[in-house]
Symmetry: C2
Subunit: 336 residues, 2 copies
Amino acid sequence: MKLQQLKYLLAIVDNGLNITAAAERMYTSQPGVSKQLKLLEEELGMLLFTRKGKSLGSITPAGHQVIERARIIMREADNIRSLASDYFQEEEGSLSIATTHTQARYVLPGIVSEFRKRFPKVGLNLHQGTSEQIADMIAANDIDFAIATGSTDLFTDLMLVPSYRWDRSIVVPKDHELTNLDRKITLGDLAKYPLVTYVFSFGGQSSLKRAFADEGLEPDVVFTARDADVIKTYVRMGLGVGIVASMAADCADKKDLQVIDAEGLFPRSTTWIGYRKNAVLRRYMVDFIHLFASHLTSRQLDDIRRASSQDDIDGLIQTSDLPVRGGCDEGMTEAV
Amino acid sequence: MKLQQLKYLLAIVDNGLNITAAAERMYTSQPGVSKQLKLLEEELGMLLFTRKGKSLGSITPAGHQVIERARIIMREADNIRSLASDYFQEEEGSLSIATTHTQARYVLPGIVSEFRKRFPKVGLNLHQGTSEQIADMIAANDIDFAIATGSTDLFTDLMLVPSYRWDRSIVVPKDHELTNLDRKITLGDLAKYPLVTYVFSFGGQSSLKRAFADEGLEPDVVFTARDADVIKTYVRMGLGVGIVASMAADCADKKDLQVIDAEGLFPRSTTWIGYRKNAVLRRYMVDFIHLFASHLTSRQLDDIRRASSQDDIDGLIQTSDLPVRGGCDEGMTEAV
DNA sequence: CGCGTTTACGTCGTTCGTAACGATA
DNA sequence: TATCGTTACGAACGACGTAAACGCG
């Protein structure tokens, strides 16, 4: 059994049991991969895949078990390499992050620019997607960090570090009648207007919809998007009243939009940053977490680095200690 | 990085940083091992060992981390091989068991003979030792099962399957005055005589001594051994009253010794069988556990096989369900 | 006949063992 | 000088890539 053989095995699995594709991904010849698979099967004395004629049909039950173990082996081999790189020179490497639009657009820019300043030699890859797409990217490997809000169910394979909390803001055109309210805005006020907001299911099972339902109200949502910029665009067009993450209501918007803090109207959301269980975090990765979850002390980060289960992390971080991030640059300066 | 290199690395560590010894253990040449270590260090760009002149001095801090990961890799590689052997032919392999004298002498013979009948091609290795020695054997690898009583603290790396419980028996010469007692024997009775029993600390912090202390008594222990046969020998010589595990008071002894059941006098002990966490159990290994812990259903065994933490196992087995093993063959027939 | 896998074979790099050398206590 | 690790070198092995054959849809 060779590490190479296990690597090829996983490449075949991760490329839909297509040896040719696997070979291309591994930058090697197709017969080589085919042969190594054959040798591995021979040494183990068992078939890892069923054959349909000459093609691979499916993974055998025993094959699944072997693959599972092979993944552990490759993960630990990667970890050894990480340890070594980290030990030798901590400032080089790469960092792949999968995240949602709100984070990528409103929160990460400040953090990324600071990170690049500190680690100019670390190659940064940002991938934007929905929570589900992020989960897929994780499964397909090659992602070091996932950053998202709520929806922890999709990410049971990750260690999730709660990083900050945020409220929502109401966004209306400058001349909107809601701006003339001489009292705090209520859900009842909002329910009178057509609403423009995130796709429901964002951050769990529609905490937004439930907030209305809890008061016996049914909101009139006329438009949903995954993207605060799109929402604001339609608000500008007068399509309705926008509800966005407070971070997304930035200063630039104040020119033609009125932003009303909706703190207390909806439950607070918690954004976390997650990494694979059992992954060795390189120093610059820990530093990135520190930039993102600025409330953590170095001591806490050390403990997190050593944590082996989500419970360990949950025990380290009190949700109530998390900073609350607002809009219009306040949050950003806080992070830097 | 090659599996072979990691294997050599661990061999060096496990042989006291002596490359020559490691090479012998691996049935290969010493320069080969030396070179592979060098290549590994070169590839990782770090020293795994400090050098004292030409000899290896100690493991570097980073080296410890690498070794830890390497152990996981080798363990999973072994697991893959186990899976394969098991899949192909379940009836061949080997089984190494480390256990205490009482188990090896009085409990295992029946089980082993049954096991050999079922799996004649599985090579059996039994190693006898104290709990501490068993723990050492585990650490040095090459042991599949540990069987012992109490002292779970020494075996936190193992999954422990509680297997049966047992009481102690009093052993006296045929003509001893304790045999003429017309009531149930008490600790107070025992305290009047010189005692011969196991080394204190057997099975935890001397549950035996504590049983006396709880009644305000101080036993007069004149001789301690690790070995019921030795104890019985001294009882025969009239040195004192023997207290042994009930399993150790077998029928053959009844010729010249009187055995008095001491159930209730001392707390019950629980004997367990343990295997390494994350180890794949081959089918014959599961069958061995079944022979040893005969109360388990196939369903429970399946769950145990899949368990990933000690808590999972503890949740599956109620201590009160464990059979109580007595002496004089009753227990043995029950197990077969 | 295209797609994908396996077989065949020549080349090249790696591992291994023996032997000799170097360093340390 | 005994012990242990490294260097040197030739032989055997194994991995890889190209080319060609094979099976299936």
